[in-house]
Symmetry: C2
């Protein structure tokens, strides 16, 4: 699996069922949301802008994309306000065939720009590691079929590596008629 193949598979509108587990409190959280992934051109002003923040990587980028997410209002009580909807520009910078960097305009756990590292496991599972100031996240995405994928995440404290939360999403793509 290459990052270009992975981004191409990811493109589209996904209906997401996501469960969160707070390990210390044994609390469950459940969120229905829509996630849209769209490949962007290299001339998109948002891409040019983000690349300018990472000049050393500018020459090597591939398939920039936009992620937009919107949670359903029914579940609003359980969703922290800042994460209920939003969007982020992402730009992969391959280092090898199966690993590299991912520049993000806005992180998910903390709303700041960051550079994550990614790699693919032997079965094509995508692994993404992001280090924020207070937290570190590890995300996995694996496709079950053309239109179904799973996504898991773990949030650690950056200082002590304590595990704060895990989550798991089952996502179905709306295939175009």
């Amino acid at each position: 699996m290459t990052i270009e193949q992975f981004v191409a598979r990811s493109e589209g509108e996904w209906r997401s069922m996501r469960s969160g587990h707070s390990l210390a409190f044994q609390q469950f959280e459940q969120i229905l949301s829509t996630i849209t992934v769209k490949i962007l051109g290299g001339n998109d002003p948002r891409v040019i802008d983000l690349l300018s923040s990472s000049p050393e990587n500018r020459a090597k980028y591939t398939t920039p994309f936009l992620i937009q997410w919107e949670a359903e209002s029914d579940w609003s009580k359980e969703i922290s306000k800042e994460n209920s909807s939003g969007s982020s520009i992402l730009i992969p910078i391959p280092k090898t065939k199966s690993s590299g960097l991912l520049i993000r305009s806005i992180g998910y756990t903390e709303a700041i720009p960051l550079i994550s590292t990614y790699c693919f496991l032997s079965d094509g599972t995508f692994k993404l590691k992001s280090k924020y100031e207070k937290t570190t996240t590890e995300e996995r995405i694996w496709h079950l079929s053309e239109n179904v994928r799973c996504r898991s995440s773990v949030v650690y404290t950056t200082k002590t590596s304590g595990i704060l939360q895990t989550s798991f999403a089952s996502e179905i793509k709306h295939l175009k008629p």
Copy 2:
């Protein structure tokens, strides 16, 4: 990661938070349970009995173990009765350093004996595939630390490969004082 190392890491009593996703109905399910994994000796009569059902593999087995699970009664409405508690004997039969068979006395999705196949991904994630009469399951287990692991599963229909259910569990081991 070898199967022996994996079984040794798995031994102990785990507190499990599990979320199930029914994709067709967009229904969530959540279950708290206790899972106990115990390594058994080769002289255990349950091990001898199970090996006798698979004579061609008898000579090559390693670290048989017992899994017992018990769901909390609070959540009983959401738990189908036959899966709320139970136990299973499992016997690994390595074929290569990172793959092999797993003989099980009782399957989870359907309560019949079966032989599953396992392999380890490049980062040590354990993958287990089990083919029952009506359903096929793929399970993944990966350790986040000595005492925290994640477990995901997908249930497919064996005939059409349609995806019936996904699930994800976050599990914490009770460390001995």
